[in-house]
C-alpha cells in the first residue's frame, strides 16, 4: 500500500499527526505495536491523573471536618476499585482514538514498524505476519520508556518504574522514590494520600529540577508537612533486594528499608531497532534530532515527541505532530510557541516561559512579582491557601518572560499565561487585563501588578535604599 504520510507510533504525537494529515486530505497510515494512545494514555498522564483524582478526594475527605462536613466513619481505600476505575478511563479514551482514526479513514496497522530503506516501513503484525507500507513522507513518533538504573536489581515486584507502578495490584507500605522530578513528585503525593510512608531521594539540590526554584521549595515544604521525607543533593549509592524488601544506602551514609522502590530518574527514547540506519539517520544520545520544522537531516523524514528530545511532554508532541504534518504537506510551520509544564500534585504546579534560574543564566534583567494565595479570596474559600503565583518581567522591554504557579487548580490557569506569553505581551498589559473574581487565575494579575510595584491587594513593597559605590580615579 502507498500513502502520502505514514506515522510510526500512535501516542499523543503520532495519532494527532495522523488525524491532522487526514484532515488536510492526505492518505495516511499509522503503525502501533501496543495500545493506541502511547505513554500518555496507557502509562503516563491519564492513568496517573485518574489515580491522583482518587488520592486527592481522599486528601480532601481528611480535611472535610475543617469545612463543616462530618463523616460518621473514616474513609476507606478500596485499591482494586481505584485501579479498575482508572482502567475504565483509559479504555474509554483508547476507544475514542480508534473511533477518531476510523472516522478520518486513517489506516491503522497494529504491529511493530521499522524503517526499511527510503519510503518504506516494514511492519510485523501482532500475529507475526509481515507487511510493507510505502509512503511519500514518514513521521517517526516512537516515544520513550522510563530509564532504569544499570546494575540495580531488576525484581519487578520490588524495583519498579512508573510503567509498573501505575498498575500495582497492591499498595506498598513503605516506598522509596528515586528521583524528585515530575513523576517522582506526583507518585509521592498520590502514595502519601493513600497512606503509604514515602521517601524521595533526589540527586540535584531541588525537587522538580527543571522548574523555578521557588516552586520546588514551596512543594518541598508542603510535602514535608505531610510527612514525606525528602533527601536533596543525595545519591542512592547502593540498592539491595532480599525477600521482597529493599535496602537503600544513601550518599550521606543513611540506609533506608522499604518494601518497594520507584525509579523515576527520567525517560530514554525508543529509537533503537527501528531501522534508522536503513535510510541514513543517526541518533545523538539516543535522540533523533530535528530542526524547528521537525525535519530530520534526511528529507521526507520527520521526528516528533519524546524521541526528538526537545520537550518530553504529551502536548508538545501533539503540537509538533501538527507542525510536522503541515510541513510534510507543503506548508511552512515552526514549533516555537511556549510550552507549559504542569505537575499534578495537590496543590498543582504549573509554569511557562523562563524560570528565575534561566533568566540568571541568560543574564536577563528581570524583576519579579509574586502573590501568595493566602491573600486570595477564592483560595481561602476553597480552603486551599498553599501556594503563590510568580511573574518574571523583562525590566528593559517590560515583557512578560515567565509565569510560575503553585496552588489549587493552577494547571488550568497556565493556559492563559501561555497565550499571553505567545502574544509577547508586556506585564503592564497583563495587569490591565480584567480577570474574573474570585478565581485562582486572579493571582496571575496580582503577581503582574506586583512586578510593576502596582499591587493593591498586598502591603506596599519595601523600597530598597543603597548608597552608590564610589570609585576615585587616581589623579
Amino acid at each position: 500500500m502507498h500513502f502520502d504520510i505514514a506515522v510510526v507510533g500512535a501516542g499523543p504525537g503520532g495519532y494527532v499527526a495522523a488525524l491532522k494529515a487526514a484532515q488536510m486530505g492526505a492518505s495516511v497510515a499509522i503503525v502501533e505495536k501496543d495500545h493506541l494512545g502511547g505513554t500518555c494514555l496507557n502509562n503516563g498522564c491519564i492513568p496517573s491523573k485518574a489515580l491522583l483524582a482518587s488520592a486527592e478526594l481522599h486528601h480532601h475527605i481528611q480535611h472535610a471536618a475543617e469545612m463543616g462536613i462530618e463523616l460518621s466513619a473514616a474513609a476507606g481505600i478500596n485499591w482494586p476499585k481505584i485501579q479498575a476505575r482508572k482502567d475504565k478511563v483509559v479504555q474509554t479514551l483508547r476507544n475514542g482514538i480508534k473511533g477518531l482514526l476510523g472516522a478520518r479513514r486513517a489506516s491503522l496497522y497494529q504491529g511493530c514498524g521499522a524503517l526499511d530503506g527510503p519510503g518504506k516501513i516494514a511492519v510485523t503484525r501482532t500475529d507475526g505476519s509481515p507487511e510493507m507500507i510505502l509512503a511519500t513522507k514518514i513521521i517517526l513518533a516512537v516515544g520513550s520508556v522510563p530509564s532504569r538504573i544499570p546494575g540495580w536489581p531488576d525484581d519487578p515486584s520490588v524495583v519498579c518504574t512508573s510503567d509498573e507502578a501505575l498498575h500495582w495490584k497492591q499498595l506498598p507500605s513503605r516506598l522509596l522514590i528515586v528521583g524528585g522530578g515530575v513523576v517522582g513528585c506526583e507518585f509521592a503525593c498520590m502514595m502519601q494520600a493513600f497512606g503509604v510512608d514515602v521517601t524521595i531521594v533526589e540527586m540535584l539540590p531541588q525537587l522538580l529540577p527543571n522548574m523555578d526554584a521557588d516552586l520546588a521549595m514551596a512543594l518541598a515544604r508542603i510535602f514535608t508537612k505531610r510527612g514525606i521525607r525528602i533527601f536533596l543533593d543525595t545519591k542512592v549509592e547502593d540498592l539491595a533486594v532480599r525477600d521482597g524488601r529493599a535496602t537503600a544506602t544513601l550518599g550521606n551514609g543513611q540506609s533506608i528499608d522499604v518494601d518497594r522502590v520507584l525509579v523515576a530518574t527520567g525517560r530514554a527514547p525508543n529509537t533503537a531497532r527501528i531501522g534508522l540506519e536503513s535510510v541514513g539517520l543517526s541518533t545523538d544520545r539516543g535522540f533523533l534530532r530535528v530542526n524547528d520544522r521537525m525535519e530530520t537531516p534526511v528529507a521526507g523524514y520527520y521526528c516528533i515527541g519524546d524521541a526528538n528530545g526537545r520537550c518530553l511532554l504529551a502536548h508538545a508532541a501533539s503540537a509538533q505532530g501538527v507542525v510536522a504534518v503541515e510541513n510534510a504537506l507543503g506548508r511552512h510551520r515552526r514549533f516555537d510557541a511556549p510550552v507549559p509544564n504542569c505537575v499534578y500534585t495537590f496543590p498543582e504546579v504549573a509554569s511557562v516561559g523562563l524560570s528565575s534560574q534561566d533568566a540568571k543564566a541568560q543574564g536577563l534583567p528581570v524583576s519579579i512579582g509574586k502573590f501568595p494565595l493566602s491573600y486570595l479570596g477564592k483560595a481561602l474559600a476553597a480552603n486551599d491557601t498553599d501556594g503563590f503565583a510568580k511573574v518574571l518581567r523583562h525590566r528593559e522591554t517590560g515583557r512578560l518572560v515567565g509565569v510560575h504557579m503553585i496552588g489549587h487548580n493552577v494547571t488550568e490557569c497556565i493556559a492563559a499565561a501561555g497565550a499571553l506569553l505567545h502574544q509577547k505581551v508586556k506585564v503592564e498589559e497583563v495587569a490591565q487585563t480584567v480577570f474574573a473574581h474570585p478565581t485562582m487565575s486572579e493571582s496571575l494579575k496580582e503577581a503582574a501588578e506586583d512586578a510593576l510595584f502596582m499591587g493593591l491587594h498586598l502591603p506596599p513593597r519595601k523600597v530598597l535604599r543603597a548608597t552608590a559605590e564610589l570609585e576615585r580615579t587616581p589623579p
Binding site: 517590560g398 510595584f453 523600597v463 530598597l464 552608590a468
Partner: protein, 510 residues
C-alpha cells in the same frame, strides 16, 4: 573625576535598570540625596549619593541596565565642571554653584569622550525597498523613548509601516520631518543624552549624515524649527545661514524657467544636500506637476509589466443573478456578508477544482500553490491595493465575510495583508454601476475576474422574453498558464455554482 557605581543592594540583586534619574548632569547633590530610581531583581531601589558634589556625565540612560559594580555616572567634587549642553541646565548649574564662575567645557579630554549616540535608521523592509517617506512622528524631540516603542510611521512603495525604537534613550534630534523622503539605512533621528553629542557624532560619521542639513540657529532646540516643511520630497532646509540656497547653476536656471522657488526645495540629491537640476521638476508644484506617490509608482510598474509581458485573453459570461441574490438575501443578516463575499466563496470553490488557477509563473516553471489564495482589489485614496484571503477554499461564507472585512479595513488603514501570495484576484466595480469591464492581471498571478453590476435585462428563456436580473463577469487569464477551453470550463463551473448557490451553503461544505 570620581565614578559612582551600581551597589550590591541585596543578596539576589545582579543588576539594576534605571527607571529615572532624579538629578541631571550639573546638578548639585548632597551626600544621601537620591540620585536615581532603579528596578532590580529584589525590587525598587533608591540610589543615594555617596559624597556631596555635582553630578557629571550619566553613563547609563533611563531604561538601560547596569550590572552590580558597573559605572553609573560621574560625580565632581570640585564644581559643575561637566560640559552641559542645554542652556537652561547650564544656567541652573551656574546658579547652584553660587558665584563660582562657570568653567565651561573642561577641555578636550572630556569632550572627546562623547556620550552614546544611537542613530535611528530608515528600515529596509524587503529587498525592493529603496526609500521611505515619513508620514508621522509619534514622539517629540526631547522625550524619553523605550526600545520597542513605535516612534514613527513610514510609507514605502508597498505599504505603510510602523517603526520601533531600536534602543531606549532620549530622542535628541529628528532629521527627517513628516513628509520627508529618505533612502533606506540612513539616519532618521538620533538618540543621545545631549545634543552636543549628536553634533559630534555627525561630525565623526560624515557619510551617514549627508542627508543631514544644518539645524536652525544654534542653541535653539530643533523642535522649534519655525517652518515645518510640508511638501512631499522635502527633507530639511538647504538654506544656508547667509540665506543663500545650495544649488547648481543648472538647477537655478531650470528653477527660474519653471517658476520654482528653490527655497521651497529641501535637501537636493547632490553632495551636502545641494540641489541639482534633477531635483527641480520634482518640486515644481506650481506647474501642475507633482511626483507620483509610492503607491502610484508601484501600480505603474506592476501593471505596465503585466500588460506588456503577459499574453492576456479575455472571456465574458453573463449569468442569471436571481438565485445568487436570493441566497445573498437569506445569508446577509446571519453572516454579515456582502454579495462580493458570495462571489469570492464561489471562486474559491471553483479554483479548488481547477489547480491551474492557483498556480503562478516563475520563469519557465509553473508553480502550483498549496492553498487557494484570492486577492481582492480595494480602492484606496490615490490608488488600489490587493490584500489576499489565504486558504479561501477552507473558509465558510461567514469566515470569508469576516476576513474580507478585516482585510479591507486594514488595507484602507495602510496595512496590506497576504500581499504577493495570491494566484487569482477579484475586482468588483458592480457597486459603481459598471456593466462589465476587463481587468489587467496582477502579476505574478495567472488570472483576474472582473465583476459587473447586477442589472435588469430582458432574458430569453424557452423562446419567451421575460424581465430578469443578470450579472456579467469577465475573466482575464494568462495564456501561458491557462488555455481557452480550461477558462471556459472554469467560468461554466462558476456560473453553475452562482446559479445554484445552495451548493455553497454551510451544510454542503465538507
Amino acid at each position: 573625576m570620581p565614578t559612582i557605581r551600581m551597589p550590591q543592594a541585596g543578596k539576589a540583586v545582579q543588576s539594576g535598570t534605571v527607571r529615572r534619574w532624579l538629578k541631571k548632569p550639573g546638578d548639585k547633590v548632597e551626600k544621601g540625596d537620591i540620585l536615581a530610581e532603579l528596578d532590580t531583581e529584589e525590587g525598587f531601589l533608591e540610589l543615594e549619593a555617596p559624597i556631596p558634589g555635582w553630578l557629571g556625565r550619566i553613563l547609563v540612560a533611563e531604561g538601560q541596565t547596569a550590572a552590580v559594580h558597573a559605572a553609573l555616572a560621574a560625580i565632581d567634587e570640585t564644581g559643575p565642571g561637566h560640559k552641559v549642553p542645554d542652556i537652561q541646565q547650564q544656567q541652573s548649574a551656574d546658579q547652584a554653584s553660587a558665584g563660582e564662575p562657570a568653567k565651561g567645557p573642561t577641555g578636550t579630554a572630556d569632550g572627546a569622550a562623547a556620550g552614546k549616540v544611537i542613530p535611528i535608521l530608515m528600515p529596509k523592509a524587503g529587498q525592493s525597498m529603496e526609500e521611505g517617506t515619513v508620514i508621522q512622528w509619534r514622539v517629540q524631540v526631547g522625550s524619553m523613548i523605550r526600545k520597542g516603542d513605535v516612534i514613527l510611521e513610514i510609507e514605502t512603495d508597498k505599504a505603510t509601516m510602523e517603526v520601533e525604537a531600536p534602543a531606549s534613550g532620549r530622542l535628541a534630534r529628528i532629521v527627517v520631518p513628516e513628509g520627508g523622503v529618505l533612502p533606506v539605512l540612513k539616519p532618521l533621528a538620533y538618540l543621545a543624552d545631549n545634543d552636543a553629542d549628536v553634533d559630534a557624532y555627525i561630525a565623526a560619521h560624515g557619510s551617514d549624515a549627508d542627508v543631514q542639513a544644518p539645524q536652525a540657529a544654534e542653541g535653539l532646540p530643533p523642535a522649534k524649527s519655525t517652518t515645518p516643511p510640508t511638501a512631499v520630497g522635502t527633507t530639511a532646509s538647504t538654506v544656508l545661514e547667509s540665506g543663500r540656497v545650495k544649488a547648481s547653476p543648472a538647477a537655478r536656471k531650470l528653477a527660474a524657467q519653471r517658476g520654482v522657488d528653490l527655497h521651497g526645495i529641501a535637501a537636493g540629491s547632490g553632495p551636502g544636500g545641494r540641489i541639482l537640476s534633477a531635483d527641480v521638476p520634482a518640486a515644481g508644484q506650481s506647474a501642475g506637476r507633482r511626483p507620483m506617490s509610492r503607491m502610484r509608482k508601484a501600480i505603474a510598474r506592476a501593471l505596465q509589466q503585466s500588460k506588456q509581458t503577459i499574453p492576456h485573453f479575455y472571456m465574458r459570461l453573463t449569468l442569471s443573478a436571481e438565485p445568487m441574490l436570493a441566497f445573498y438575501q437569506s445569508c446577509k443578516a446571519r453572516f454579515r456578508c456582502s454579495l462580493n463575499d458570495v462571489v469570492v466563496l464561489a471562486c474559491a470553490r471553483v479554483i479548488r477544482e481547477f489547480p491551474a488557477f492557483r498556480s503562478r509563473i516563475e520563469g519557465d516553471e509553473l508553480v502550483e500553490l498549496p492553498s487557494v489564495n484570492i486577492g481582492i482589489a480595494v480602492a484606496v485614496p490615490d490608488g488600489l491595493v490587493v490584500p489576499v484571503v489565504i486558504d479561501a477554499d477552507r473558509l465558510s461564507l461567514q469566515e470569508i465575510a469576516a476576513q474580507t472585512k478585516q482585510l479591507v479595513e486594514a488595507a484602507r488603514g495602510g496595512r496590506i495583508q497576504g500581499m504577493g501570495q495570491g494566484s487569482f484576484t477579484i475586482t468588483n466595480l458592480g457597486m459603481a454601476g459598471v456593466e462589465e469591464f476587463a481587468a489587467i492581471i496582477n502579476p505574478p498571478e495567472v488570472a483576474i475576474l472582473a465583476i459587473g453590476a447586477v442589472r435588469e435585462a430582458a432574458v430569453v428563456k424557452d423562446g419567451t422574453v421575460r424581465p430578469g436580473k443578470v450579472m456579467t463577469v469577465t475573466l482575464s487569464a494568462d495564456h501561458r498558464a491557462v488555455d481557452g477551453m480550461l477558462a471556459a470550463r472554469f467560468l461554466g463551473r462558476l456560473k453553475e455554482l452562482l446559479e445554484d448557490p445552495e451548493q455553497l451553503a454551510p451544510s454542503n461544505e465538507q
